[in-house]
Amino acid sequence: MFVAKRRFVAVAIGLLLIACTALAWWSFAPRTNRAAGPEIDPKAMAQLSRATNYMRSLPAFSLSADVTQDEVVQDDFKLQRTSQVRIAVRRPDRMRAEVYGDLGNRLFVYDGKTLSVYLEKERYFITQPAPATLKETLDAALEKHALELPLADILYVAMGGELQSSVRDAGEIGSSMIDGTACLHLAFRGAKVDWQLWVQQGTQPLPRKIVITTTDAPTRPQYNARLSWDLSSPIPEDRFQFTPPKGAMPIAAGVLPAEPARDQAPKSKDKPKRD
């Protein structure tokens, strides 16, 4: 009896072992639903290039966008933050971007010499020297100060940047109506983001909707923007000038020190050896 009981337990443990092995294998193994492997559909890439080239051909443009962006709280709750963005660009060195949103109203102005940011609620402003073109200014702001302008991809691509080289997988999904306009729905996968683009059909292939999914966060939060374009209204020069409002206080843009107290604490490994 006793031996039989032991045997039963051994079988149960064996099954547990198999389950654990399977779990471990499943965790380590690549996702099987991607087993077919990435495939870059040349038609989707051609549509992306068409939209890119069209945006680059515009001497100036204005757009407004309704944006939602997930903020992850409590580890896995996705709060959807809402904002409205208005952008005006004149090639190659003028840009104004206004953000009205849950996380504060912001103004960004680039006049060819300086990039200024104004934070309405806090009444802080930043004015710093900027490179001679908007493209270089976008790069410098992102790399030096982790400062990302609203709808950064639109600005980046319109000013000559490209997103094609980061694409690992691309597909043309089909037609889709966005705000009453017939669009072509495209899907792309990159290293840390999956993204979707809805490009207006016809002679003005403009992006009308963008969805970006952050894939290196377990909850996969999303960014979503719907865009309306104005290619004809003239943009007065004073839109590209920034004067700090009365009482506004200057601050620095920067990257915060990461855990300074710990960085400077000696690591146990590095302790000098006693002879």
Binding site: I13, A24, Q69, V72, D139, L151, V193, D216, A217, G254
Partner: protein, 162 residues
């Protein structure tokens, strides 16, 4: 004979238990949300651009513009306002409450000073702004905070008296 049987059954019992426990211990945990943080200042926001993801210099890998901050290891850190617990970005560790509101910073008690280099998402009440050399500082009961704009939010770094 019975003794041999018993030892076999014992090994049948013990070996799988050991291996099973080992395999379970080796199963990788899900990647932590914190691994993907570092965007949008202290907030844990979805990435807002494809290009930004490609460039992807997550905040904690960046060099610090505030290099002259003097970290005094001897200063007694007020744990209530110290945001260095599990990385300064995102989550309740980092100056935001469970619904994303900035946590009100406690005013340092006389006995405990706030360590220079401490980063908070909001200021304690009753601060006075002063501009020194084109940089704004907030004096909150003798502790000086320097506002810094990063990602898309303002955070405050405790600095020495300017």
């Amino acid at each position: 004979m019975a003794r041999v049987k018993r030892s076999i059954s014992r090994s049948l019992f013990e070996v799988p238990v050991f291996v099973a426990l080992l395999m379970c211990a080796l199963s990788p945990e899900a990647p932590s949300e914190a691994q993907a943080r570092g965007r949008g200042g202290g907030r844990n926001l979805a990435r807002g651009s494809v290009h930004g993801a490609n460039v992807s210099r997550d905040a904690n890998r960046n060099t610090n513009v505030n290099r002259n901050v003097n970290v005094n290891q001897n200063v007694n850190v007020n744990r209530n306002v110290n945001v260095h617990g599990g990385g300064y970005y995102g989550g309740p560790c980092c100056g935001y409450d469970r619904w994303g509101h900035p946590v009100a910073t406690a005013v340092a008690v006389t006995a405990t000073a706030v360590a220079v280099g401490t980063i908070v998402a909001s200021l304690p009440p009753q601060c006075t702004a002063t501009v020194v050399g084109n940089v704004t500082y907030q004096n909150c009961g003798g502790t000086y905070y320097q506002p810094i704009y990063q990602g898309n939010t303002v955070q405050y770094v405790v600095v020495n008296r300017p």
